[in-house]
Symmetry: C2
Subunit: 325 residues, 2 copies
């Protein structure tokens, strides 16, 4: 007997959470939630479409992880503490093994960040997953895109470009129908970075009261930097000799391609942020080894992005990903 | 030149709202919102898929209306005051006329209920719209599904079945490629009820502190009543001689088919609720002419749904709509 919509929800998407602020969760017309007094509510939503954000045939566990991770990344970019999620799942069939894997990917990430799934909608249709995440932040401490100032140091977390390289490896493995086992260890690491982005929630929290601006890098570093600069009414110089090209990325793509993936590839879900230069040491000591951050350049008063390598001006490649371009 | 994703958002989905509780709206990684002290946050999400929830070729204005209305209906069903919405739009092309119509339908309903669109996501993909609505309710006054008690009077608002009849008329007009103008006035009224459901927000607010349970009727009255009874661990008797068959529905479908559309048709977005019998007069006088409500039957201790016509037991037709059944 096929699985009905209501049984599907109660079987896969109704795990209890230990959060005491969920007055009413999955199962009614809406969830009832208690926002801590004195905090602002932070709300974001992101959608994944099969064939656009993930390849057809991607493991359901990775889709579940990714769908929540990209939303938690928005919380991170605001310096917010994530708390609750709602999920809308459109799927062509109610395949139990697929649902089990998807729920596993979703809940294992949710549990790590103490996020309760409190509601949603399940419909039959093309494979599209939309998650909405809700969280809190102290008034005045939220990280916004519009606070960067000339002179600020420009930073990015982690190793951007690795996810885009992982996607390329996945695509070529798929087209050559090579088995996963034929990938080298560093290649598998890059694929993992694409399939299992880790939201930088702890970094976002550490940036509160320190960073002048922040956003997450999802559509490519340069394109996202251009948005941050536009919101802040300033420009930036990117030091191309300081780009954090990871050894795995370098090995997979070579220096030139690695730089272009780093600057233009999507799906990194790292944080791009700006700090007054005198706060850089403080942040690096607060973070210790918990999260690598790399200085990329400097915010400048003149609009637009400029590249420099060892002090010599160099043209930057074109902009980031646009769904409708 | 095709319209880019970011231009699309700023052109169509960035209207200012007058709400003072939106600290930061569309344009950053997340919205920052101020929940009034002492209120619970109410959160719901609903998705519309082309070909499932609306016919291909439906006017974009109606899709925009419907996508928000079904979510406001969830707020109504909780007795909540809607405040903010996030919208995820997956669409195959960024057609400007379509987007203009869609935004018009969405915003004209949003403005009527003072709901601010504070964020969202726009991606290329099959036509799927997900909206999340956030609102508030006083602790202890939220309407839930699980509070119905034996002896309570069972009510439904408005004229259920009209939307389902409207959908049938639309479908047959589409298949006969008859012009819209060939529809009679009452038929056009039924089609309007399907395309432009009116969320019962004021009724939901009036039910706070009065109704013992409530939910919205979206998947068919009997199927939804079964869910309400299951949540409340009780059953119900439906008085088939009291069904509120509207004149338009009767004219379009005849008595027998009208009853079946009323009991099993979907897309009504009316409220189903229960009242202690001694509060029924009070509610009717509070509501006055603002919203028609109809007594349908009585909550009973024995599980399951039973029908009766003029006191004589009568079998009820089967259950409501299930996306995966």
């Amino acid at each position: 007997m096929p699985l009905g919509e209501f049984e599907l929800i109660s079987r896969y998407f109704n795990r209890r959470s230990s959060r005491g602020d969920v007055v009413l969760g999955v199962g009614d017309d809406a969830a009832l939630l208690q926002v801590p007094p004195g905090k602002l509510l932070v709300a974001a939503t992101d959608t994944l479409v099969e064939g656009r954000h993930f390849l057809s045939g991607t493991a359901p566990e990775a889709i579940g992880h990714q769908a929540l991770a990209v939303n938690l990344s928005d919380m991170a970019a605001m310096g917010a503490e994530p708390a609750w999620a709602l999920m809308s799942l459109s799927t062509p069939v109610a395949d139990e093994r697929w649902l089990e894997g998807f729920a596993e990917g979703l809940y294992s990430l949710a549990e790590r960040y103490d996020v309760a799934l409190v509601g949603g909608d399940t419909v039959r249709g093309p494979l599209v997953v939309t998650i909405e995440v809700l969280g809190f932040v102290e008034p005045g401490l939220a990280l916004r895109r519009d606070g960067a100032c000339p002179g600020d140091a420009l930073y990015v977390s982690g190793w951007p470009g690795e996810a885009a390289a992982g996607l390329e490896i996945l695509k070529s493995a798929q087209s050559s129908s090579a088995a996963d086992a034929s990938l080298s260890e560093p290649q598998r690491g890059l694929v993992h970075r694409f399939l299992h982005p880790e939201p930088r929630v702890a970094l976002g929290r550490a940036l509160r009261g320190r960073a002048t601006s922040a956003m997450d890098v999802s559509d490519g570093l340069l394109g996202d930097l251009a948005k941050l600069c536009a919101a802040s009414q300033c420009g930036a110089r990117v030091d191309l000799d300081r780009l954090p090209v990871s050894p795995a990325l370098l090995a997979a793509a070579g220096q030139q391609r690695a730089e272009s993936l780093l600057l233009q590839g999507g799906d990194d879900y790292e944080l791009l942020f700006t700090l007054p230069p005198d706060r850089a040491d403080e942040l690096e000591s607060v973070l210790g080894d918990t999260c690598p951050v790399h200085r990329l350049g400097t915010i400048e008063p003149d609009r637009g992005l400029r590249g420099a390598r060892h002090g010599v001006e160099e043209k930057l490649p074109g902009a980031g990903f646009d769904h409708f371009a």
